[in-house]
């Protein structure tokens, strides 16, 4: 049996993280995050109570339920689909608790941590860059506390904001390199 410590890598582990790090525009990959999908309909009997046992509540459509002290965000994705992001170290316990809480209900808990790359996008020109790639009105229609499923150029993407001066973009892992490159191209005039 090999005696090697497993190496955890995110989808953008290979990129030059300083490539987009100017005050006008900066992008960083958030590497300490896990991603768990909860499939449960709010109208399912017992759903609210099950979530309450996890310390959660259903966010409104396109909304986010946040537990800041746990760095946990529960994002509305569709009427019966919620994406929970939280620190990697908390994932296993959360999944176990969720599966326990949902026992007996028509619900599902799916670990999708490996499936996503999470980008934090900031800088004074962030909307100028993103408006070259996103048809969604991120500047005018994505206030703090809102999440939208849209596209970054030709890649599916989930955008959300939890504070004023930056926004987050979730890309599927296989599209992350494309997303990084096209952000790099679009932002060249600001870097």
């Amino acid at each position: 049996m090999a005696n090697v410590e497993p190496v955890f890598e995110t989808a953008l582990a290979h990129v030059d993280t300083s490539a987009m790090s100017e005050p006008d525009f900066n992008v960083t990959e958030v590497r300490d995050f896990a991603c768990v999908l909860l499939r449960i309909h709010p109208q399912t009997a017992g759903a609210g109570a099950a979530l309450a046992r996890l310390g959660l509540a259903f966010p409104p459509a396109l909304g986010i339920h946040a537990i800041p002290q746990q760095r946990l965000l529960m994002k509305w994705i569709s009427p019966d689909e919620y994406l929970v992001t939280l620190p990697v170290t908390d994932k296993a316990a959360f999944i176990e608790q969720a599966e326990t809480a949902f026992a007996g209900l028509f619900a599902a808990v799916v670990d999708n941590t490996g499936g996503y790359s999470l980008l934090r996008i900031g800088g004074g020109q962030r909307y100028a860059v993103l408006s070259k790639l996103c048809f969604y009105d991120l500047k005018g229609n994505l206030p703090v506390g809102k999440v939208v499923s849209t596209a970054l150029a030709k890649a599916p993407a989930i955008f959300y904001r939890v504070q004023e001066d930056e926004l987050y973009c979730l890309l599927r892992g296989s599209f992350a390199d494309y997303g990084w490159k096209i952000l790099l191209t679009a932002s060249a005039e600001f870097l």
């Binding site: 499939r39 019966d80 996103c134 490159k181």
Partner: protein, 994 residues
């Protein structure tokens, strides 16, 4: 032509002189000049040759409506730009300019030498002349192409790049003339988020001419411009042409970001042009109008211009286009120009086709000569106009007659105003038809689509104050639609009238009266088309090529409609217009592509192991956007050598493959099993946790659309795998059937394709390796049989290991969270060196699976193959309680007949001959009827011969018989039909080394 002393509102910067090169000779202009104004002041003429007759042409307009002055910029270089209108190209230092026309040159055009033949080259000439003999057409075409067209296409790669930008606005205002500026400011002051677009370098539009002579206009313009620039909720895009307006107010616009800069001054980080995609809740079209020329013989001579253009060159560029001037028209605007030319020291002759009641005494006192009830019937000159012949005219009903020839007026400039055509293009892009107005002698915008308004000159307001008030009124209406309140009330202004007279067509020398300058369409062509029974204006357009040019007939189309009306006697409103389609002005291909070029044209999807593959020197192929290793060459190996080595490793020892790209769908819920039973053809009722099953998926026609292995995690939880390219389609298929047909099933799907990475360990020694890297799974044949999966820890990482095979060999697929995918791959590769583990790519995968006769959906199937056709009837369970998708269709007579095309194996008589995929098959050597075609074909390193799979009509019954392959090379090759399993029919290899 001459440059006048500084004008009050000129756009040029006299302190910055710029040089440009026209056909090898250097000229100069000022910063702020357009190429056209610089050419005019330098007396550059002709600037073009006409499309068909090679006639000399000069500059006619001052904006995008220019039909003649097409040029090529930076010819032959990496900045080569074809078919640029000199009238809206801003001059920059060392601009290199060539005419876009002239065969072989601008000075000496062969088409002009053919003048004696021009009378035969009327409408339909090409259709009638070059149709026989039929087989000569390729030569005709070659010759015609040599004589036609404008600029050559670029031959070098573009040195610049392009991009896109999306915008969202409450109100988008198109056009920054007085109407647009007033509308934008009023809208912004009302609280709306506004975007204001204008094709010119600065706001103002035609108002610059008004500002030059009207102090009040100048004050309002300056105040409004400053207010707009300080308004935080207004974005102003200049040098930006709105070229299309689609449904739901999607407005497309092209911004020329660097075209006005000298090549050396362009910022390589900035795009040359940007295509803006604007979503506006309300759109105000303040697009203005285009002046029409008049119709008379030789009206295409150089020196004959639109009156509004003469005015613009005078005020904006301080260029006097001529000093012996005849102004002709049918509306009051000609007198404004006359007055302004008098101010510039020129005494024009005004030829007014109307019996005008306007008091022109003051003008005449200042030196102008005025002729009413007169019209130009012919221009005289060769390289440019030297005189015009005018005549007294009279209108009887709809007909115009020459009463008497009056006189010949020498001149070097003729300024024409045949009325104004509102720029209705954008309003028409969504299907609206403009409406003819007798009052304004123009086709007016219908503006009958929701959330849209028109204002200003496009709405027939001829004066800046009227345009301003109309803009404010449009803004108030748009604000009201947004439930916002304007800061000040706005009344709908009354239109002033220019007293535009009716269209004037005298039928004098109609074969010299040009309508469409760019395409050389004459009045006689319209008459001929009508004589040949073309009645619809759309047909007349296509027969004559009216409006076919890059200018899209902006100055000619309405005159063409007027001539058609005069010839047919049908009123213009009944004739109507042709269809206005995007683009309003030409858009570069680069701007359409934007940043989505090269590697960004289509997303490249990578697995977590990508960088290990790159380091290993893999060659890649694209599979449904995924970059998959194709093969891993060592040293100088070519594809075939590498594949032979890789296949041999998989068959004899140990190989590994990145299978992460397969689609993976997590299916959970009490009815998950039932869902699988409905979407797959085979049975799922008894699949126990820990087991896997191959599934075949059909559409409702019973045709195979996908396949894959599904693992049972628990009674309510399954993981489905799909083909690499089919993942998104299958996911949508499941959702669609669930949401629309079976909403009662309690099941949910989650794509986990990207979450799991998969390393396949393949070969007789696979068990040896797995035992070394995973201690908590019993890999013995008895404990872990084929088509089972186990959960365990591989190299310290939680994993799901599936014992499935796409090669016929012992194989384990190690699925781990993608974050550990590269680690697992690298470790397996390193530890596997003990058995000389060999990574292999998709090409070897194809060979290995073909040796076993395993199908690839999309390659061996094409949407017309049922499971029975594929020889997979064993995967069809007809006795399920609920029918699977496609079951009913499998009972149709056509689907059930025995002689359908069926998937079989083929062996060529010559074992070294590898049939091309797609190769046609026939029953007998002399047959021409196709019996089927080859779907997969390879050289099998294991069998040391070629093998192929094919769909053959009645193929199952023909097994053991010889048919013939007929590749495009023309040979006829005998091939033996057999079953598709070429290797290890007894499945003795499946358990590997025990």
């Amino acid at each position: 032509m001459k440059r006048l002393p500084p004008q009050p509102c000129e756009r040029i910067n006299r302190k910055q002189r710029l040089s440009f090169k026209w056909h090898g000779r250097w000229y100069s202009g000022f910063a702020g000049d357009t190429l056209a104004s610089a050419m005019l002041v330098n007396d550059v003429t002709p600037v073009a040759r006409s499309f068909k007759y090679g006639r000399r042409r000069g500059i006619m307009a001052a904006g995008v409506e220019e039909p003649n002055a097409l040029v090529t910029l930076e010819s032959g270089s990496h900045h080569h730009t074809p078919n640029v209108r000199a009238t809206d190209a801003e001059l920059y230092e060392e601009m290199q300019v060539q005419a876009a026309s002239g065969v072989p040159s601008l000075e000496h055009d062969i088409r002009a030498w053919l003048k004696p033949l021009h009378r035969f080259m009327s409408a339909g000439f090409y259709y009638k002349t070059f149709k026989a003999p039929k087989n000569w057409w390729p030569w005709y075409e070659k010759g015609l192409r040599r004589f036609s067209g404008f600029s050559a296409a670029p031959s070098e790669p573009d040195a610049e790049h392009y991009d896109h930008q999306y915008h969202h606005a409450d109100i988008a205002v198109v056009g920054a003339g007085p109407a647009g500026m007033a509308a934008a400011l009023a809208a912004a002051q009302g609280g709306a988020r506004v975007i204001l677009l204008d094709e010119r370098p600065a706001p103002g539009g035609e108002m610059v001419s008004d500002c030059a002579t009207d102090q009040q206009a100048r004050q309002w313009f300056e105040a409004t411009r400053q207010a707009l620039e300080t308004q935080a909720n207004v974005s102003i895009l200049t040098r930006t042409t709105a070229y299309a307006l689609h449904d739901y107010n999607l407005l497309l616009a092209l911004e020329r970001r660097q075209d006005h800069l000298a090549l050396k001054a362009r910022n390589p980080q900035h795009s040359r042009q940007r295509s803006h995609r604007i979503r506006a809740r309300q759109v105000i079209l303040a697009t203005g109008s285009h002046e029409r020329p008049l119709l008379f013989a030789n009206n295409d001579l150089s020196g004959i211009m639109l009156a509004s253009a003469v005015r613009r060159y005078l005020h904006e560029y301080a260029v006097l286009c001529g000093d012996e001037v005849v102004i002709a028209g049918n509306n009051d605007s000609i007198y404004v120009l006359a007055s302004e030319l008098l101010n510039a020291g020129v005494r024009p002759v005004v030829v007014d086709s109307r019996d005008s009641s306007l008091d022109t005494a003051a003008l005449q006192q200042r030196g102008a000569v005025v002729r009413t009830n007169h019209a130009i019937i012919e221009a005289v000159g060769s390289s440019r106009v030297t005189a015009v012949r005018i005549a007294e005219i009279r209108q009887t009903g709809n007909r115009w007659d020459i009463v008497s020839l009056k006189e010949t007026l020498p001149c070097n400039l003729v300024a024409l105003s045949g009325g104004f055509s509102p720029v209705v293009h954008l309003d028409c892009h969504t299907g609206s038809r403009p409406v003819f107005s007798g009052e304004f002698q123009a086709f007016m915008p219908a503006c009958d689509r929701p959330n849209r308004f028109v204002a200003g000159s496009v709405n027939a307001h001829p004066d800046w104050a009227g345009c301003r008030d109309d803009g404010m009124h449009a803004a108030a209406s748009a604000l009201a639609a947004l439930a916002l309140t304007p800061s000040s009330p706005a009344e709908k202004p009354r239109r002033k009238s220019l007293g535009t007279g009716p269209f004037l067509y005298l039928s004098h020398k109609p074969d010299k009266v040009f309508l469409d300058m760019q395409n050389d369409v004459k009045a006689s062509d319209i008459a001929q088309a009508i004589a040949e029974n073309y009645r619809s204006i759309e047909h007349i357009k296509r027969y004559t090529a009216l409006g076919f040019g890059t200018d899209q007939g902006k100055t000619g189309n309405v005159n063409g409609i007027a001539v058609a009306s005069a010839v047919t006697g049908i009123p213009m409103e009944q004739i109507g217009t042709t269809t206005f389609r995007p683009m309003y002005t030409p858009v570069t291909m680069g701007a359409l592509a934007g940043e989505e070029t090269g590697l960004l044209y289509d997303p490249q999807r990578f697995t977590p192991m990508q960088h290990s593959h790159v380091q290993a020197g893999a060659q890649f192929e694209v599979v449904g956007q995924w970059m998959r290793p194709w093969y891993f060459p060592q040293g100088d190996e070519d594809l075939h050598t590498a594949v032979a080595r890789e296949c041999q490793a998989a068959r004899q020892s140990l190989a590994m493959m990145d299978a992460s790209t397969l689609g993976k769908i997590d299916i959970q819920g009490p009815d998950a099993r039932e869902l699988l039973a409905r979407v797959y053809t085979n049975a799922w009722a008894k699949l126990a946790p820990g087991k896997c099953r191959y599934g075949l998926m059909c559409d409702e026609n019973g045709m195979i659309i996908d396949d894959g292995v599904t693992a049972c995690v628990s009674d309510t939880h399954f993981i489905m795998t799909t083909t690499t390219g089919g993942a998104a389609r299958v996911y949508a298929h499941l959702e669609r059937w669930h949401q629309t047909e079976w909403p009662e099933l309690r099941v949910c799907f989650t794509s986990v394709t990207d979450h799991w990475s998969t390393t396949a360990v393949v070969g007789p020694k696979a068990r040896r390796l797995m035992e070394k890297i995973c201690s908590d799974i019993d890999f013995s044949v008895e404990a872990f049989p084929f088509m089972d999966w186990r959960e365990g820890t591989v190299l310290g990482v939680p994993a799901r290991v599936m014992r499935i095979s796409f090669s016929g060999e012992l194989s384990y697929e190690i699925n781990v969270q993608a974050n550990y995918g590269r680690y697992i791959w690298d470790q397996v590769h390193e530890i596997g060196q003990a058995w000389n583990i060999t990574p292999y790519g998709t090409e070897s995968m194809h060979v290995l699976r073909a040796e076993k006769g395993y199908i690839i959906v999309g390659q061996d199937t094409d949407g017309s193959i049922t499971p029975h056709d594929a020889g997979m009837g064993w995967a069809v369970a007809r006795n399920k309680p609920y029918p699977f998708i496609g079951l009913r269709s499998l009972s149709r007579s056509d689907t059930a007949r025995a002689d359908r095309k069926q998937l079989v194996g083929l062996l060529t008589a010559d074992p070294d001959t590898v049939l091309p995929e797609g190769c046609q098959l026939v029953r007998h050597p002399e047959d021409s009827a196709m019996l089927g075609h080859v779907t997969s074909s390879y050289h099998s390193p294991t069998l040391q011969r070629s093998i192929a799979m094919a769909v053959v009509r009645n193929g199952f019954a023909l097994q053991g018989e010889t048919i013939y392959a007929r590749p495009v090379s023309g040979e006829t090759l005998p091939v033996l039909i057999r079953d598709t399993n070429f290797y290890d029919a007894g499945k003795e290899q499946l358990d590997g080394e025990r």
